[in-house]
């Protein structure tokens, strides 16, 4: 290391960006604590994501790819960066925005406006699918009926299918979601705390559901939430930021707080958690349930009826407890367990705070 570089590093608040050594640093990078300028930040941020995409073979040229777009910061930055990288590195992808309208007044209708603006800003065609059209129920209706317990279960199950249907409508080959490093680290911890070894073995996969209707991948797997916010802030990107009004599960909150404290002590710990998750010695003999199709709607299902149909049936019959917990009886009979959602398990679009979702 050159003497001048070493000297300026030791002087704490360096006078120059430590990457380009030309411009004035304006931020401390959350992942590495390096003091860098705006342009270098954009560069490392985008380049790291590009490397993740390339090293993990996430896309093939000519693929039609739908971006799960909620209007939140993750999906907005994802749409922006992906279309930029697609151009810059000639991925050859046909990109689309896919948004799900769960019918939550004061929340979803606002964020949908953001996605509509994104469509214009980024020049990406947008498809919106609503629970109302697909299932005949909005989340507002559902919550009115069942209250605030288990509402997240309904939302998660419905969204998964909605995303797949939307993807089918758009005739895309792949779905990408904005799940970031913090989300995945949180999920690893939660699965340990809850004793779910099966999910623990799957939750760090960057691509899931290759054997299902539509594979999904997470290009932000190693991207820090704080850096996504920082990027959106500096780039002045348009996004909507509020939590789902139907109260997130308090349990994830524990893990979230812990990770925030951890990040303060040791920024790389978030990546270390993901690394641990990838390295856990878990026997790969967990039998996957046999994939069939739902008798009612034709969607992929390991039981007679898919989970969405079971839940819907319950709603329509005024029996909202059907399909929740270890419900017995019903179409799928006594052997129906908590649906072992196949690897193509849905991840909620943006409010990953939701509790009982498959993660």
């Amino acid at each position: 290391m050159e003497a001048s570089e070493a000297k300026s590093k030791k002087q704490g608040a360096s006078r120059l960006c430590c990457l380009c050594n030309q411009r004035r640093p304006v931020l401390k990078r959350p992942k590495t604590l390096q003091q860098i300028c705006k342009d270098c930040f954009y560069e490392v941020f985008e380049e790291e994501i590009h490397q993740v995409i390339v090293k993990n073979g996430l896309f093939k040229a000519g693929e039609r790819v739908a971006i799960g777009a909620s209007g939140g910061k993750d999906s907005t930055v994802l749409a922006y960066v992906l279309s930029e990288l697609n151009r810059r590195h000639s991925y050859g992808l046909d990109l689309f925005l896919l948004s799900i309208d769960e019918g939550i007044t004061g929340y979803r209708d606002d964020s949908l406006e953001t996605v509509k603006r994104n469509e214009l800003q980024y020049g990406l065609p947008l498809q919106i699918l609503s629970y109302k059209d697909l299932y005949g129920w909005t989340m507002d209706d559902i919550v009115k009926m069942i209250g605030l317990k288990n509402n997240c279960t309904f939302c998660g199950v419905f969204r998964r299918q909605a995303l797949d249907r939307g993807a089918a409508l758009l005739k895309v080959d792949k779905l990408v979601t904005g799940h970031n490093a913090d989300d995945i680290a949180e999920t690893v911890l939660l699965n340990i705390l809850r004793g779910d070894i099966a999910r623990l073995s799957r939750c760090t996969s960057i691509t899931t559901g290759e054997d299902g209707p539509i594979p999904r991948c997470k290009p932000f797997k190693y991207t820090y939430e704080k850096e996504i916010v920082m990027y959106a802030y500096f780039k002045k990107l348009d996004y909507f930021s509020t939590e789902c009004i139907y109260s997130p599960n308090a349990y994830r909150g524990f893990a979230r707080e812990f990770i925030k404290d951890l990040e303060r002590l040791r920024p790389r710990a978030i990546l270390d958690i993901i690394k641990s998750g990838e390295d856990f010695r878990i026997a790969t003999t967990t039998k996957m349930p046999e994939q069939g199709t739902c008798e009612r709607c034709g969607y992929i299902s390991s039981q007679k009826w898919c989970k969405a149909c079971v839940l819907l049936d319950g709603l329509n019959r005024g029996l909202p407890k059907m399909g929740i917990g270890r419900a017995r009886g019903g179409v799928n009979g006594d052997h129906k367990k908590e649906t072992k959602k196949p690897a193509s398990a849905a991840r909620s679009l943006e409010s990953k705070q939701c509790g009982s979702l498959d993660f």
Binding site: V188, L189, N191, I192, L193, R194, G195, D196, I197, L200, F254, F258, D261, L262, L265, R266, R268, A269, L271, D272, I273, K275, S276, G277, E278, D279, F280, R281, I282, A283
Partner: protein, 453 residues
Amino acid sequence: FDMACNSSGCESGGCYGREKENGCKVVDVKETVRLCVKCKSNEPMTFGDGGSDDGRFCAECFRSNVYGKFRLAVTSHAMITPSDNVLVAFSGGSSSRVALQFVHELQVKALKNYEASRDRSLPVFGVGVAFVDESAAYPSLSGGMSDAIELVRSTVLSLSPPEKDLHVVTIESVFGSESVEARDRLVKLLDSVSDETGKEDLLLHLKMLSLQKVASENGYNRLVVGSCTSRLASHVLTATVKGRGYSLSADIQHVDARWKVPIVLPLRDCVWQEITRLCHLDGFDSLKTVELARHPQSGINDLVSSFVALLQEENPSRECTIVRTAAKLTPFYFNKIPETDDSCVPMATQRRLKKFNLKYDGSMTTEAFCPICNGPLNGSDSSEDESDALYAACCSSCRFQILPQEPSSLDHFGSLLPHHMISQVKHHQKFDSQTYLREKIKDCLLLDDEEAV
């Protein structure tokens, strides 16, 4: 235990054992007279510590529950067999006090059986106690250290017959002596670790090394460590957040035979609440002053402890769930007692060990280990290009939090480490497959010239 009825107003046909003599003594929540739910005859013990299960068991049943878990762990994992010589790591803390107590009681029972048997075929296992004085690393402890050691000594004395040797060693003994130089070297070593958590962890590794040294130098073949479920739950989380997911399953089993003297964890299935209650019950409170195990934690280890405490408040079985989840991870071949020369092991024991597959063939060493933490190395972690042998040999977690970040400081750091750690590091040339292969077939090569290949 007796399967007695739980319903109120039962007829005698539903009860067993002593209830028949006394008439039906039922556990009826509505009545004011409450009885132990297990033996139904004694008054239940109330610890008043706000924990779960308070006031359900009498003192005897509570104790036998905990002791039962200990004994089950010992027998089902062949932790202690008649010909063994067992060293108990004693920190003065509650967990190791209970471990020591239980091992002593097991030994007393074995002695009783031995004296009662005609052929004296099963010898009584030996027990020793080791205490590590860490005041060189934590100067704040030095004030009370001699008193603490006295208390330890008197505790060990009280646990006889059978008599037990006490070995008090300083942490700097890992350097081969207990001199001022050794003490200084320890201080220098710790000072060269800039990460707080790394420093704490390095100290833990050194402590284990000193225990191993005492054990092997004094002829012990088992090291008993008092880690309970709660401690392991914290370890699961600290390992996860430090990127040690691969080696985690090695650390949390009942047996850890990576070491020269295999480590056994007989209290692995007991929770902290049980341990503290037992200490209270048996009057071990006096050792609270010797709670030197409670030296200040900072950094990540402390953050995780607080987090687990928070989770426990929200759900008292969280610690158990965490350890149960981690227990589903695949252990390593060395998480069983190793096969050794069995000539001194009684036939009956040999048969039982073979029958339940409790031992492994020691020649199956396929793992490489980090020289500092002794964690099994994940293949993907190794980098043969590394110019520094120590850096190349360590796991990624030790590289980050223990080794100095400046490559130029690595040599000096390596010189400060205890010989045992550094001796494993091979200062070899980059592996040359051609040379290696040639060595294997050279007796069949007709031409000396490599060009001919």
